[in-house]
């Protein structure tokens, strides 16, 4: 099977990064020789052109912003894109011939073959409205990149299905090659417009006239010479981090970027999922870290956002956040949701409700009660997590117990001594230091309440311990 590469090119990343929120009328970047090197759509609309002198550009559109390159931000964005592409292919490489170009090998990828649109859609969503992206598909990474340059923004450019690569590659225009202007002018002056024109010249002559590197380039483009490249480093942890377009201090502002981060991570996680997520928000000189646990792996963006909303509205970060990082912790294999029977739906819905309650109220806010084999009433029950699967413990045959137990016994004044036959003596606890010796009995209070009272045999005082509610 022939190799297949998808090239992803950001033609104006350095400039567009400065205007992701669209608040500036246009941005262009100057190179070291004070010429326009890159610009966004706003600058292009004002008549700015690549290679124009900086003075000329300033005179033409003085309102436009001139920015310096931010190498770190550019790398971070390319890295996020590369990590995303790893969800589709075993190898992602940077095409160093261009400043912001990546390629992913898709050979034999069943996910790509089954639904090519899902990858293209993911890349388009990643780029959003403000970043232009071009896509090309070809048997070599260089050919894919040249096709991408030839195509339209956001569209995939590939060979016609009924023609082979060996027939078509010769039609690639030489003007797309990443050569300097002098070389492009020389090629045109010699009547060389396409790779086919180039091929018609003698090989040795070509090397002498234009340099051996272009022989190598064309050979790698055609696939007759190996094109070894170092793979883009694959992140071992699943985390997404990016600066926020605007400072965010409330949930409404955070919702969109958080959704974006989750969707990006979900694509990268593929057949894995996580029940633990860490959110890190960075302000000017403050940091906010929050963990979210869920009972089941979170795969739905809506549920994910719902849980974070509950958590963050309860525990607001309280400053203007400028940077967001989302990390999926303890990822595990996930085979998808099983079945759709009513009971399974109920279990899933119960899990979701539990997650929401815990996200908002805290993990310990919800519990179950279970009886425990102990004579002392306060030790005859304990709280357990809702997931505890043990059923009711078998209990000895006791006298009726009250439905309400007070957290602590309250001293009371009992007006009449109960009959001996009414008493239930409860003693024990010497083994754990909480020894009790009590006589329990029912007592109807003057207001009609049915009380469970005991007389402490050591102090001879009476205490209210529960209600037969």
């Amino acid at each position: 099977m022939a190799e297949q590469w998808l090239a992803v090119i950001f033609p104006a990343l350095a400039a567009e990064l400065w205007n992701l929120d669209g608040t500036l009328p246009g941005v262009w970047i100057a190179e070291t020789r004070q010429r326009v090197w890159q610009m966004d759509a706003g600058a292009a609309n004002q008549g700015i052109q690549i290679g124009m002198s900086a003075a000329q550009a300033r005179a033409l559109a003085p309102q436009l912003q001139v920015m310096q390159r931010d190498a770190e931000r550019e790398f971070n964005l390319l890295d996020r894109c590369a990590q995303l592409l790893y969800a589709w292919g075993p190898q992602v490489v940077a095409l160093q011939e261009w400043p912001h170009a990546l390629a992913v090998e898709l050979q034999g990828n069943s996910r790509w073959r089954a639904r090519p649109q899902s990858l293209l859609q993911a890349i388009r969503e990643f780029a959003g409205e403000r970043l232009r992206v071009r896509l090309g598909l070809a048997p070599t990474s260089l050919a894919a990149a040249l096709l991408a340059w030839q195509g339209e923004d956001g569209e995939l450019c590939h060979w016609p299905a009924d023609r082979s690569f060996t027939e078509c590659w010769q039609e690639i225009p030489l003007k797309l090659l990443p050569a300097n202007n002098m070389l492009h002018v020389r090629w045109e002056s010699l009547g060389l417009y396409s790779c086919g024109d180039w091929l018609r010249l003698d090989r040795r002559e070509r090397a002498l006239r234009f340099g051996p590197e272009w022989e190598s380039f064309l050979d790698r483009l055609r696939g007759i010479r190996a094109d070894p490249r170092s793979p883009w480093p694959l992140q071992e942890e699943f985390a997404v981090a990016f600066p926020l377009l605007q400072e965010v201090s409330d949930w409404q502002g955070l919702r969109f970027p958080l959704r974006r981060a989750f969707q990006e991570l979900r694509l990268r996680l593929r057949h894995r999922a996580s029940t633990r997520w860490e959110l890190l928000l960075q302000g000017r000189d403050v940091q906010y870290r929050q963990l979210l646990h869920s009972r089941d792996p979170l795969t739905s963006a809506e549920l994910f956002l719902q849980l974070w909303r509950e958590r963050l509205q309860r525990h607001p970060w309280g400053f203007a956040a400028r940077h967001l990082q989302l990390r999926a912790m303890d990822t595990e294999n996930w085979a998808g949701e099983q079945g759709a029977f009513w009971e399974q739906n109920l279990l899933r819905e119960q899990g979701q409700l539990l997650d929401r309650l815990r996200a908002r109220l805290g993990v310990d806010s919800i519990y179950r009660v279970r009886p425990r084999a102990d004579h002392r009433p306060e030790y005859a029950w304990h709280s357990v997590v809702p997931e505890d699967s043990e059923t009711n413990t078998a209990l000895p045959d006791l006298r009726p117990r009250p439905l309400w137990l007070l957290p602590e016994p309250i001293p009371v004044s009992v007006l009449h001594e109960p009959e001996t036959t009414e008493l239930e003596r409860i003693e024990g606890g010497w083994w754990d230091g909480h020894d009790v010796s009590r006589d329990y009995f029912r007592w109807r209070r003057s207001d009609g309440a049915e009380c469970w009272v005991f007389r402490d045999r050591r102090s001879a005082r009476y205490f209210l311990h529960g209600y037969f509610a």
């Binding site: 109220l361 806010s365 009660v369 059923t391 009726p400 509610a469």
Partner: protein, 209 residues
Amino acid sequence: MKTAVEELLARHPQRLWRAEAGKPGRQKHLQDPGHSEVRDLLGGWPRRAITEIHSQVEGIGELRLLLPTIAALSQQEKRWVLWCLPPYIPYAPALAAAGVHLERMLVIHPRQRQDQLWTLESALRSGTCSAVLAWPPALEEAAQRRLQLAAETGNSMGFFFYRDVVSQRSPAALRLRLQPAGEHTRVQVEKRRGATVPAVANLELPLAI
């Protein structure tokens, strides 16, 4: 040919009904209360609705009134019985002895009023709780209506216990007032959806089922 009223009745069976349909034994959407005297008095607990239980004193049988229903729901359904803001500890040995399946029972204590209302609405609306027993703060009418709608949506029964007198206007399907009466508990029906005449009964509620 159907009259306009009959057509409306057929189209909105949950929200529109004839008053006489509320007579004991004739309503369809009722949960068996387990006590024969309560059955005679009310027919049953209204499903998909809120029932208010008012009493000035705790410990006069307000839980025993519901205990057979709670036990039956926990045995028959896989949905939860949620206890929200109980004033004391629901005592596990007594509940287990009464047949309540404790693995279907959850207890929750939201602290702030906003969280309390949110919890109640979420639980009632989610469809995951067969019953929600709650000791809520005083609720304004809009909040009561919201919770009533949530109970309808989630096919859940809400039992709200109040110690203080609340507004006489309430969308609850049933409102009871409990008072001690010697060895008995006096149950006064203050409001019942579909019924026109208030009813009173003195019930003898056993300590154990």
